[in-house]
C-alpha cells in the first residue's frame, strides 16, 4: 500500500452517554463542536464529515450529515453517513482515515451518534435484532443478548470458565467507569450484583449486558502536515485494519472466536509494525462480558481459552499487565451504537494526550481500538501512538 500522508487525530469530544433528552441532531452537533474546540480549528478548515449512525429513523432524523454541516456553518461541505451496526463508528473512522491518507483532504470530522432509549427496551431489542442475519437469527427470536449468550454457552462448554468469571469483567469495567465523568453507569458493582441480576438471555444476566445508551462522540482527523502547522495536542494513527466474519453464528468454524477481529487486528498490527505485546491499553468491544473475553484472545493479548484466566488474575485491570477498557468500555461507559467506535478513539486521544484524569494509563504510548458490528460480522481495529 502507498499512502500520501500520515494521519493524526487533532481533537476529540463526546456528550455524556446515557438517557439524553436532546434530539439526535442536537447531540451530534454538541459532540462535533466539542471536538472542533478541542482541536482549536475553525470549522471552515473541515473538508467533509463522516457520520456513523444506525437508527436515526427512531428519532425522526436520517441524513444527519447535511444537518450537522449546516449547524457548523459549512453547509457547502459534503458528508457521508455510514452504517455497520454497532461497528459503524470504527468503519466511519477508517473511511475518514483512508481519505486523508490518500491525500483527498487535509482535515475531516468523524462524528458518531445514536438516540434510541426513548423507544423503550422492547423496541430497542427489536431494532437491534435487525442487525443479525435476520432470516436465520432475528426471525427465530434471537436478540443480541441471546446471540452473545449462545457464544457464552459455547465458551462455558469448551473451556474451563464459569458465569462468575464473566461477571468479573463487568465488575472491572464498572470500576473504570466510575472514574469517567461521561460514563452512563458510574456505579461500582460486585460479582454478586451481577449473579443476582435478572436473567436476560441465559447464561447472561442484566449486568453482563451493556446498557442501551444515547450519545455522540466526535474526532478531528488531519494530515501530519496539518497537525504540525496547526500546533496543539495530537496523536498519530499508525495502523488500520478491517475484517469480516460469516454473518450468522451458525456459519463460524468456532462460535468462541470472532474471525473479523483476527483479520482486522493482524492487518492493523502489520501496518503499525507492532505485535499485540506492544499495546499498552485497548478499548475493546465489550457489548457483553463474554465479548471482552473473546476479544482479548482474538486480539492476541492472551491465548485462546486463557482470556478467562487473565480476568481471574486481574491482569486486564487499569494499570496492570494491559489495561483493557480504561474508559469503562461499552459495559459501563455505555453503548450508543453509532457513536461507540468514535468514542473509543476519543478515549485513546484523551489517554495519549494526558487528558484522562484519574483513569490515566501510566506511561502509555500505544493504544488500540477494537469495534465490531453485530456478533462481529464486521470489525475495524486501529492502532494509535503518542507523538
Amino acid at each position: 500500500m502507498c499512502f500520501v500522508e500520515k494521519v493524526c487525530v487533532l481533537g476529540a469530544g463526546s456528550t455524556k452517554y446515557g438517557k439524553l433528552a436532546d434530539s439526535i441532531a442536537d447531540i451530534t452537533t454538541q459532540a462535533s463542536v466539542a471536538a472542533i474546540e478541542s482541536a482549536g480549528i475553525d470549522p471552515k478548515e473541515i473538508g467533509a464529515s463522516y457520520i456513523s449512525n444506525v437508527f436515526g429513523i427512531a428519532d425522526k432524523q436520517v441524513h444527519i450529515g447535511p444537518v450537522l454541516m449546516s449547524r457548523l456553518g459549512i453547509p457547502d461541505k459534503p458528508s457521508l453517513t455510514i452504517e455497520s451496526a454497532c461497528g459503524s463508528g470504527s468503519v466511519s473512522f477508517r473511511e475518514a482515515y483512508a481519505n486523508i491518507a490518500a491525500g483527498f483532504y487535509d482535515c475531516l470530522i468523524a462524528t458518531g451518534v445514536e438516540k434510541v432509549t426513548h423507544t423503550g427496551t422492547e423496541w430497542t431489542t427489536t431494532y437491534f435484532a435487525y442487525c443479525s442475519d435476520f432470516f436465520y437469527e432475528g426471525q427465530a427470536g434471537a436478540s443480541f443478548p441471546g446471540l452473545f449468550a449462545s457464544m457464552a454457552r459455547a465458551y462455558l462448554t469448551e473451556f474451563d470458565a464459569t458465569e462468575e468469571d464473566f461477571a468479573a469483567v463487568a465488575v472491572k469495567n464498572h470500576d473504570n467507569g466510575v472514574l469517567n465523568p461521561k460514563a452512563h453507569m458510574q456505579k461500582k458493582i460486585t460479582v454478586d450484583d451481577v449473579m443476582n441480576s435478572a436473567v436476560v438471555a441465559s447464561p447472561l444476566k442484566l449486568y453482563d449486558c451493556c446498557p442501551f445508551s444515547d450519545g455522540a462522540s466526535s474526532v478531528i482527523l488531519c494530515s501530519e502536515k496539518f497537525a504540525k502547522a496547526h500546533g496543539g495536542d495530537y496523536i498519530e494513527v499508525t495502523g488500520s485494519g478491517r475484517g469480516g466474519s460469516p454473518a450468522a453464528l451458525q456459519g463460524r468454524e468456532q462460535m468462541t472466536t470472532i474471525p473479523s477481529t483476527k483479520i482486522a487486528s493482524e492487518a492493523a498490527y502489520k501496518m503499525a509494525g507492532i505485535t499485540a505485546k506492544d499495546v499498552d491499553f485497548a478499548e475493546v468491544h465489550d457489548c457483553f462480558t463474554i465479548a471482552e473475553v473473546v476479544d482479548t484472545e482474538d486480539l492476541g493479548f492472551f491465548d485462546k481459552g486463557q482470556g478467562i484466566q487473565a480476568i481471574r488474575e486481574g491482569r486486564t485491570k487499569l494499570n496492570s499487565d494491559i489495561s483493557i477498557n480504561p474508559s469503562g468500555g461499552l459495559k459501563s461507559k455505555g453503548h450508543p451504537i453509532g457513536a461507540t467506535g468514535i468514542g473509543q478513539v476519543v478515549e485513546v486521544y484523551d489517554q495519549l494526550t494526558g487528558k484522562a484524569g484519574e483513569r490515566t494509563v501510566k506511561d502509555a504510548k500505544v493504544g488500540l481500538t477494537h469495534n465490531f458490528g453485530a456478533t462481529g460480522a464486521s470489525c475495524a481495529v486501529h492502532v494509535f501512538q503518542s507523538v
Binding site: 427470536g141 449462545s150 441465559s202 451458525q250 456459519g251
Partner: protein, 121 residues
C-alpha cells in the same frame, strides 16, 4: 421460488436444502450463491434430514417484539448429523438450562412466524 422460499419449503418437511460446491465439495446452506471456500458458482442441491444435536443455545427472557407470548423460549444452533454444517432456529417450551443440555438430540419440524422451528427428538 427464491432461495429463502426454497429453504422454508424444505424446513416445513423437516429437511435442510444445501448447496454442495461442484468444484471443491464444500457444503453450504442453500442461501449461499458462491462457494465460501473456492469462489465457484457451481452447486449441486442436496436435501438433508434436519436432524442433529444442539451445539449451543440461549433461553430468552427479554424478547424482541412479537415473541412475548412465547417467552421463555430458546434460540438454538443445531449441528446437523454427518456433515460440517449448522443451522439455527426457534425452540419453544424451554424454560431452564436443565431442559436442554448441549448435545441434546433435536430436529427441524417446521417454519412459521417464529422462523425455522426446532424440537427435541
Amino acid at each position: 421460488m427464491s432461495v429463502e422460499e426454497q429453504m422454508i419449503e424444505n424446513a416445513k418437511e423437516g429437511k435442510v436444502l444445501t448447496h454442495k460446491c461442484t468444484s471443491c465439495g464444500h457444503l453450504h446452506l442453500s442461501t449461499v450463491y458462491y462457494c465460501q471456500k473456492c469462489g465457484s458458482k457451481g452447486f449441486q442441491d442436496e436435501i438433508l434430514e434436519g436432524t442433529g444435536s444442539i451445539a449451543t443455545y440461549t433461553i430468552i427472557t427479554v424478547p424482541p417484539a412479537g415473541f412475548e407470548k412465547h417467552t421463555p423460549y430458546a434460540f438454538a444452533v443445531l449441528q446437523l448429523d454427518n456433515v460440517k454444517l449448522r443451522i439455527s432456529g426457534f425452540m419453544g417450551g424451554i424454560a431452564t438450562p436443565d431442559d436442554l443440555p448441549v448435545g441434546t438430540r433435536a430436529k427441524i419440524t417446521g417454519f412459521d412466524e417464529r422462523g425455522i422451528i426446532i424440537e427435541k427428538q
